[in-house]
């Protein structure tokens, strides 16, 4: 019973932690692409900011993944 609960919790943690960053990255990239298309001369700056934004957002999914492995296997 306890193992089943831990497994369910791990699955929810991983799944929910992937949804949020997915939405965030979608919004971030959409806005960045629009900015690059409107102002191609600042595309370099926008891409740098976008890359860092994606990496920061991805950290949330990584935290969810770590919670998943700790709940499931430790």
């Amino acid at each position: 019973m306890k193992n089943a609960s831990a497994a369910s919790g791990a699955g929810y943690a991983y799944g929910l932690a992937a949804i949020g960053p997915g939405i965030g990255i979608g919004y971030l990239v959409g806005q960045a692409v629009q900015a690059m298309a409107r102002q191609p001369e600042s595309a370099g700056q926008v891409q740098t900011t976008m890359f860092l934004g994606i990496a920061f957002t991805e950290a949330l999914a990584l935290i969810g993944f770590v919670v998943f492995i700790l709940l499931k296997f430790v």
């Binding site: 992937a18 960053p21 997915g22 990255i25 979608g26 990239v29 959409g30 692409v33 629009q34 690059m36 298309a37 409107r38 191609p40 595309a43 370099g44 700056q45 891409q47 740098t48 900011t49 976008m50 890359f51 860092l52 994606i54 990496a55 920061f56 991805e58 950290a59 999914a61 990584l62 935290i63 993944f65 770590v66 492995i69 700790l70 296997f73 430790v74």
Partner: protein, 170 residues
């Protein structure tokens, strides 16, 4: 009859030329990752022994490869079109998350893998490297290597003299 007053940019027809700034940032992150590796591995060894050190090294390696892979995908796609870059960013996120999951699940039963230091090193090195990089990117957003030296920055930051003071000095 109405005519459109503004034109929408076509993201399918636009692309980025030249070296990718994302690749430059990722290489910088990888260089810093190599710099912090010895200290991180020693910390892992102190708290969890040899297995901890190996797990911390694995976590750091996964983070660095993840950064490089993300930048390579973005840079390659941006040279084709901005729309493809958006797709690469979104599907790249899923693909890389899947690769990290596979990489960890493949080694989790190995005797030298400790999951706690591996997880801690994944989170701390990812966020730590990003915050460290932010210090340099904020100075020169597009190309971190072009950050001005401290002397030049001080000159730029000095307030300009107003015209009355300039005339008084003359």
């Amino acid at each position: 009859m109405s005519f459109p007053t503004t034109t929408q940019p076509n993201v399918l027809a636009q692309r980025m030329e030249g070296p990718s700034p994302a690749v430059a940032v990722a290489k910088d992150l990888a260089r810093r990752g190599v710099m912090i590796a010895p200290a991180s591995i020693v910390l892992g060894a102190v708290f969890w022994g040899t297995d901890g050190a190996l797990s911390v090294a694995l976590g750091l390696g996964i983070v660095v490869v993840n950064f490089l892979l993300a930048a390579a995908m973005l840079g390659y796609a941006a040279r084709i079109s901005l729309a493809l870059m958006a797709g690469a960013a979104l599907f790249g996120f899923l693909i890389r998350l899947g690769l990290i999951t596979i990489a960890v699940l493949l080694v989790r039963n190995e005797p030298w893998v400790e999951l706690v230091p591996l997880g801690i090193s994944l989170i701390i090195s990812h966020l730590g490297l990003l915050f460290w990089e932010m210090r340099f990117v904020s100075a020169s957003l597009a190309f971190p290597g072009l950050k001005p030296p401290p002397n030049e920055r001080r000159i730029i930051q000095e307030p300009e003299m107003n015209p009355v003071e300039q005339q008084e000095q003359l």
